[in-house]
Each structure stands twice: as C-alpha cells, then as structure tokens.
C-alpha cells in the first residue's frame, strides 16, 4: 500500500518526538543529565556509606554503567509500548507502515541516550580511566541493545492495542528489572548457576560489557557478545513477526 521514503519519515517522527519533549522544558537537555546523576549519588551513598562495600572500586562510575543502559531501556520500552495506542489518530487515518511508530519512539529516546552516554564517558575520564581501543566495541554493544529494545517494543506495543493492561505489566517488569540486572551489584556476587543465565538478558549483558570496556579497559568476552547478539536478533525477529500478525486488526481495536 504505502510506498514512501522510510528514512525521511523516520527522521521526521524522531525529530518530532524529541522537539515536543524538550520544547516544554525550560532547562531542556539538563534534565537528561540530572536524573542519572541524582540516582548515581544516592546509590553511591547507600552502598559506600550505609552498606559499605569494599569489593567495588570507583563505585560512582560502576553504578553509572548500570544506570545509563537501565534508564534507556525502561524509558524506551515504556514509551514504545503505549506509542501505537497513543497514536491512534494517526494509525486510523494515515496508511503509514505501522511498524514505524514504535520504532520511531525508541529511536527518539536514543537522542536522550546519546547525551547520557556523553555524561558516562566524561565521568569515566574524570575518574582517571582513560580512552582505550576497546571503546570501539561501544557502538557494537549499544547497537545490539537498540535492536533488542526495538524488538521487545514491537511486541508489547502491538499487544497493548488489544489488551490495554500490557502497559502496566511493562511498568511492573521495569521496576522488577532494576533488581534483576546488575545495576548496583557486581555479577560475581551472583551465584554461578544464575550468572550464566544473566548473560542471556541483553540488558544485563550490555551492563557487563560496558563495565569491562570502560572500567577494566578490556574487550568484552566473545561468549558474552555472542549471547547478546543472539538474544537481540531473536527478540527483534519475534517482535517483527508478532507485530506483523497483529497489525491487521489495529483499526478495530483503537
């Protein structure tokens, strides 16, 4: 049906989301930096002063390596999940390819993410961990993460059209996830039998990879990368399939 310029449309939708979000904020981009800094300070206080932890050095950047991916994941996933239902006006009146709506929502969160990655990298340098060649892995692991988020969002956004409760399930899942991915604890504190499972969670795998690259200055292990690539691609494929199956009836349910 719709034969058009996908890139131009995607760009316009991403820019739209971003502009709308920031035009109504007097301090604009500053808010993107404030939230992770506040969370970083609070968690650092709790885990260095309240429950002193001697195993982890540079706790602030350690926790920031967890917070930045976690924030991105939850914001993109939650906004993406409600995007199709919230854009009912568009979906019911313009024959655009429906997949583009959740994907554009995820990608517009990436603008936000870029600012936070900038913060993370500057903090790494401030804490005296210099730039190294392994930083070249960063685009690879982030790219896989974005693929994963697009996949899972395609799935939940389509389901949300049929059952509006899906958004609340996603919300609860995000709260739970804060504890189930190693944001403020190290993976070696997790019993070995669970630790292997953690690597299949693309979000946990990304956090582990970031710490290896930025704090240890090492390249991420190939098993970790393979697991990340495998689960991200699988989730994206399943997401596309589910969305494709469900989109035909969107009109009747919106």
């Amino acid at each position: 049906m719709w034969k058009g310029d996908y890139l131009f449309l995607l760009q316009n939708l991403v820019v739209k989301d971003f502009k709308i979000r920031y035009r109504n904020m007097s301090l604009g981009v500053f808010w993107s930096l404030l939230n992770p800094l506040v969370m970083m300070s609070a968690l650092t206080f709790v885990f260095t002063a309240v429950f002193p932890n001697n195993q982890i050095e540079n706790f602030p950047i350690f926790v920031l390596c967890g917070l930045v991916p976690f924030n991105f994941f939850t914001v993109a996933w939650q906004n993406g999940t409600i995007s199709v239902a919230n854009n009912a006006g568009l979906i019911k009146r313009v024959p655009v390819p429906r997949e583009i709506v959740p994907i554009a929502t995820v990608l517009s969160t990436c603008v936000h993410l870029a600012i936070q990655i900038g913060l993370l990298l500057s903090m790494v340098i401030v804490f005296g961990r210099g730039v190294n060649w392994n930083w070249l892995w960063l685009p690879v692991v982030w790219g896989l993460e974005i693929l994963f988020v697009c996949g899972i969002t395609l799935m939940t956004s389509a389901l949300d059209v049929y059952v509006r409760d899906v958004r609340y399930v996603v919300e609860s899942a995000c709260t739970l996830l804060f504890w189930m991915v190693p944001v403020f604890y190290a993976i070696h504190s997790v019993p070995q039998s669970y630790a292997n499972l953690y690597q299949f969670n693309p979000l946990a795998a990304l956090i582990l990879a970031l710490r290896t690259i930025l704090i240890d200055g090492d390249s991420p292990s190939s098993t970790l990368l393979l697991k990340l690539a495998f689960s991200s691609t699988l989730v994206f494929a399943v997401g596309l399939y589910v969305f494709h199956r469900l989109k035909r009836q969107f009109f009747d349910y919106l």
Binding site: L9, N12, L13, R23, L90, D165, R248, D252
Partner: protein, 244 residues
C-alpha cells in the same frame, strides 16, 4: 480503468468499540458480555472508474466513514474484497497528523512524509502549500498559536497540494472564511478537471451536486441507490421529507 472496486464488502464492529482491558476479555470468557457485532457495512459492491467523482450520501451512522477507511486501506473488510489502484489521499478529519507544539513548517513536512513523499519532493511542494494557505509568517509559529480557521486552512492546503491520485473528501468543503472557501472549492474542481478521481462524503449541497456526477446512497450499512447524483439526491431528500 477501475481505480476503486469493492466486492460484497461487509464490515462488522464490536459493540464495545474495541477498547479492551483484561477485564473485558475475562468477561467474554465468562460469557458475561453480549458478543453481538453490528454491521457498519453490509454486502456493499460498487466500482469507481478513473476520473469519476462520486459522492457518498446518507444519514449519520450510515457507514460513510467506514467506507472511506476501507478505501484508504486503513481497515480490512470483515468479508469481501477491496481493490484500490493509486494513492488515495484522504482529507479525512483534517490535520489528524498535526501536532500543536510543532510549527506550521514542521507539520507540513511531517505530513508530507506520512503520506509517503520523499525529502526532495516535500521541500519542492512546501512553498506551494504555504502560498495556498496564506499563512505567511505564521508558518514559523507553533500550531497552538493558530486560530481554528488557520489550522483548517493549513490542513486543507497540505491535503490538496500533495497531488493525490484519488482525493477523498470528508465533510470539509466548508473551510475558513468565504473567500478561502471559494478558493478551496475552486481547487477541488481543478483537481477534478485534471481527470483525477474524487470520492466525496458530504451532506447534499449545491456544490456537491455540481462537483460529482454520481452518488452512492448508504443507509444502515447498505447501499440502497447508485446512480446519477440528481436522481439519488432527489430520492434521498424525498425520503427525508416524507415520513417513511
């Protein structure tokens, strides 16, 4: 060439209107709700040839808007087939792709891309749209600063200048002040005279009679008359005035 063809098309909707919570599914399973579906369209067949301009008339709730959603490919039919050749641009609910926080310019480009235009094509058409809308400097202001009339003018300018092969008009012949209305009507006639297909949903008016050659009369989802607009509108008005 037939640009629009509907064969035995039926479209049903849930009475609940679709919006569903988990609760509703549980009620369905427990058999608490009435699973009755209502017919928005019932066994409708017709075709439109290239260059024809067709009016769809009928009372509120007769299935006119559903018909347009099917033709634009937004909704799949429950049974039957819908075939459309060419890009149908709908003037359905003007400005549905608009966002109040974006400027006129940003909205124009966003809408062009939603309708499938490439970057270069959209920029090329941009000036034409602005000129037609007569919004001048307001084009750089966010849409929420516009008056209602200005918003409609912008939406109309976008829709008619994006060169649709099939123009679908939904009750929007009355836009803006009289001068602008005249200009809109003129533009629609111009599109028709270029030999493009027009599908128009509206209340019967002298303009409609002049614009369209043929009319479809829908009543409770059924196509009850298809013929020259003069005859159909006379029959339709006859039904309205005489107690049936």
């Amino acid at each position: 060439m037939k640009v629009i063809q509907l064969q035995n098309v039926t479209k049903t909707f849930h009475r609940s209107g679709g919006q569903k919570l988990l609760r509703h599914y549980l009620e369905d399973i427990l058999g608490k709700t009435d699973p009755e579906r209502f017919f928005a369209l019932k066994d409708v067949s017709f075709s439109v040839r290239e260059g024809e301009s067709v009016a769809v008339i009928g009372a509120n709730g007769a299935g006119k808007s559903t018909l347009l959603s099917l033709v634009t490919g937004l909704a799949p039919p429950s049974t039957g087939t819908v075939t459309v050749n060419g890009r149908a641009a709908a003037l359905l609910d003007l400005g549905s792709g608009f966002h109040p926080d974006l400027t006129g310019r940003e909205n124009i480009l966003l809408n062009a891309s939603l309708l499938g235009f490439s970057r270069s094509r959209a920029h090329a058409l941009y000036d034409k749209i602005v000129e037609f809308s007569e919004l001048d400097d307001f084009i750089k202001e966010p849409l929420r600063t516009y008056s209602n009339g200005m918003m409609l003018r912008l939406a109309f300018s976008v829709a008619v200048n994006l060169e649709p092969q099939i123009l679908i008009i939904d009750e929007v012949l009355a836009v803006g002040d009289q001068k602008f209305q005249a200009k809109c009507t003129e533009k629609i006639f111009e599109i028709r005279n270029e030999g493009r297909t027009i599908l128009c949903v509206s209340h019967v008016s002298p303009t409609l009679r002049e614009l369209c050659d043929r009319a479809l009369w829908l009543d409770h989802g059924q196509l009850i008359m298809d013929g020259p607009i003069g005859e159909v509108s006379a029959a339709y008005e006859g039904r309205l005035t005489s107690p049936a």
